[in-house]
Symmetry: C2
């Protein structure tokens, strides 16, 4: 049976996104310094060969254990679930061949027909909540796994549902000071994890937890 | 010249202390489950031989790289700085031979004469702010280092002063859901750190950052 996992980058002070990183400031990366902060958070990823190819950033990039992790995360994913905000930001910034290559279930109140992209990504807009999205994603994923892509509030919802079996965090040594925290709004019974693996990268520490 | 460092345990969701861990609930570890949460946070430490000896928990305990880190943290410390709350909790729970063996500068509004404990620990009560406490601690530490012991708000004050040169975090795989966050109330310019070392322990991940 497919697993449910999240794989995200986190600032040292616990944020997934810096303050000011929102569509209305998209064109002004100087606003609250969000662009530089986001870059520092994602530095470990932007340099990886597999990621560069997938986002069509061009040739080159690092190969090695981190690149292998990035590839493995993509290859294991048979479906993605994301929030409306993440989708809306990506809708404006992903290449036409959106970088998922799976069905993507978008949690939203907006009714919208599926949006088919070249390269295997189709966005489905789910209006009846996270449990329904997960059920649809499990079916779509087949033998592969379901990735809870983000943002923070979507991951929180699935943590509170107790369904996230693997939590992978790339902890980057940058402070945001404010923004969207990953670990917030969690309620009892709190999810329980144990340490599975740690990979000490040069620009992020890759922490892998599995449900205890 | 002596360095200024912090070395603390942190829950996976970023708390130094769980909700409910306060003197008024000291006798009721079942309250908000704080005792079990605190135990899960400190599990990696409570089993170390050096720590057990220092807190007079009795013989036995693990030796190895984590024990060596615990010993090194103690041995490098020539002075400690802590907040009033941490002191007040410790005053009721440390053994008579308090586990610091250095001068300890307590940030407080209370005027109080120095409190000398057997074994080399003397508590000095500082009423004129964190910079004064640091100056006194540097003098007292001699060639050894100054440890900012905690709690969270004291570490935040010194992070905001930009004086913490080494930040060591034992990240334990436990969720608190609520409590005292380490990374809060930080302001621009935010402190900058780079990854120095990572040690993957069985019950905590030991992250060492140095000021960038």
């Amino acid at each position: 049976m497919s697993k449910v996992f999240a794989n995200i980058a986190l600032s040292l002070d616990g944020y997934m996104a810096p303050e000011g990183m929102a569509i209305e400031h998209w064109e002004t990366p100087g606003y609250k310094d969000w662009g530089a902060k986001w870059g520092a958070l994602m530095n470990w990823l932007l340099s990886q060969k597999y990621f560069r190819e997938n986002l069509m950033f061009g040739p080159g990039g690092e190969t090695g254990p981190v690149n292998d992790m990035v590839r493995s995360t993509m290859e294991r994913s048979g479906a993605n679930i994301m929030g409306k905000r993440m989708f809306e930001q990506g809708e404006r910034s992903w290449p036409e061949e959106a970088p998922f290559h799976t069905p993507v279930f978008v949690l939203t109140h907006e009714a919208r027909d599926p949006w088919v992209r070249p390269g295997g990504t189709t966005f489905f807009f789910v209006n009846d909540g996270p449990e329904s999205a997960l059920e649809q994603a499990r079916k779509a994923a087949g033998n592969r796994d379901v990735r809870i892509s983000g943002g923070a509030s979507v991951i929180q919802q699935y943590l509170n549902l107790g369904v996230i079996e693997e939590l992978e965090i790339a902890l980057a040594p940058v402070m945001f000071g404010a923004g969207r925290r990953l670990f917030e709004n969690l309620h009892e019974p709190l999810p329980k994890f144990r340490i599975d693996q740690v990979h000490a990268g040069a620009s992020a520490t890759h922490l892998r937890y599995v449900r205890a």
